[in-house]
């Protein structure tokens, strides 16, 4: 398997209908422990993740992987803030990415069943996905994202509005993925979660990268006053 990282952004800027959303962003995402994207609501965390993943195109500047695009596309997966459930059974939801890639239906369903068992959805295999609880839905979408064994997994605030137990279970899923060598890039506004998971932190403020550095340094001794205020729990606008 060819390594798709590092991901390089050079002065990447996103504008939508003339409105400046984020940028210019210049940074590198390297293989290793999770990268956590922090910042106030509306700062552009989601747009940055979607720019990484290719769901949003840069209006100017460059986003490039270590390999060419079709190869890079196959090596990444994205978990949305609100889980998108297909109108199918839990098992068929998880199997879908494999079927898209041409895996035979029977094999895909068998693999999906194993994946569901391993994240505690084994009892709901044949249930329609929409009957799942909030935490189970998000576990389903992470299992679905992981089924293709991506090298890079993007997550957009996956544990927002979930109870403590679901958060812990989801973080365990993510740590297991990290242990298998998956690069996790996750937006969150839960500082405790950032402390538990982060290898490095990207702090977004005012439509740009305000600070980017190792988690230990950033979380304990931020350089900029805005980051310090954010970590302090002050309201940033």
């Amino acid at each position: 398997m060819v390594a798709v990282l590092p991901l390089d952004l050079k002065a990447a800027t996103v504008r939508r209908r003339g409105r400046h959303i984020i940028g210019p962003v210049t940074l590198q995402v390297k293989a290793g422990p999770p990268t956590i994207v922090l910042g106030p609501n509306g700062a552009g965390k989601t747009t940055l993740l979607q720019l990484f993943h290719g769901l949003v195109r840069a209006s100017s500047g460059q986003v490039s992987w270590a390999v060419d695009m079709p190869q890079a596309d196959l090596a990444q997966a994205y978990v949305f803030q609100t889980p998108t459930l297909m109108r199918r059974s839990v098992q068929d939801n998880i199997a879908y990415p494999l079927i898209v890639r041409g895996v035979a239906r029977r094999a895909a369903r068998r693999q999906a069943s194993e994946a569901a068992q391993s994240v505690g959805l084994g009892a709901h295999l044949e249930a329609p996905a929409h009957v799942l609880s909030g935490g189970e839905r998000q576990k389903l979408s992470i299992a679905r994202a992981m089924i293709t064994e991506p090298q890079v997994l993007f997550l957009d605030e996956p544990t927002t509005n979930l109870d403590g137990r679901s958060v812990r279970e989801i973080e365990e899923m993510l740590m297991a993925a990290v242990a298998r060598g998956t690069k996790v890039v996750m937006a969150t506004h839960d500082l405790g979660q950032a402390r538990r998971l982060a290898g490095d932190v990207i702090f977004i403020y005012n439509k740009g990268i305000h600070e980017h550095g190792p988690a230990s340094g950033f979380l304990d001794a931020p350089v900029t006053p805005e980051a310090a205020a954010f970590l302090n729990g002050d309201i940033l606008e």
Partner: protein, 234 residues
Amino acid sequence: MNDLWEGVAAAFWLVVMLDADLMEITARSLQVTLTAVVIAAALGLPMGAWLAINRFRFRRLTIAVLNALMGLPPVVVGLVVYIMLSRSGPLGVLNLLFTPTAMVIAQVIIVTPLIASIAHQALRDLWADYHDLLISLNTTKGQRIRALIWDARRSLLTATLAGFGRAIGEVGAIMIVGGNIDHLTRVLTTAISLETSQGNFALALGLGFVLIGLAIAANLAIHTLSRTERAGRW
């Protein structure tokens, strides 16, 4: 009121006695309509899905035209198909005029826009849900259309049944291109029309009740087979 009761009685006896003529024209009605609906669904459902997922220059105009075509006057469709299929028309060599095939062609033209339009409206909403996920998974256009059609199959069944409803009760077009020829192109609706014009109201009404019963039976059969309206299913 007397006519109505006589109609009910006539319908009852026609069905109970398994009247040979009735069986023949009922079978032909079903054959023509089912063939037309299957072809129209095969065309209309992917067309609706395609319209739901693609953004192109004349999209709005295309959808407006499609919606307008839902109300296409059957008589006009019949007339156009008649001209195309008549001996002197461009497709005259096929010798299709006054055959069940000609009736199927006319019904496909009437029903396809209806199915495509209702399918498009159902799939547009589903596509709004699925858009980001299916883009993220690098699906091809074909895979997107297939996923939408499969996951919305129950709403699409409704679209198809609407098409069936329109086709089974249609008389204007099939009368013109079929000609209501006994033992060849006579179906329930054209027979009703004929009996009415001859003053045989009871028989006409009887055929009418059979037609309504047929439509209900076909809908029920399809719902039962596909197990819609059950708990926990889409």
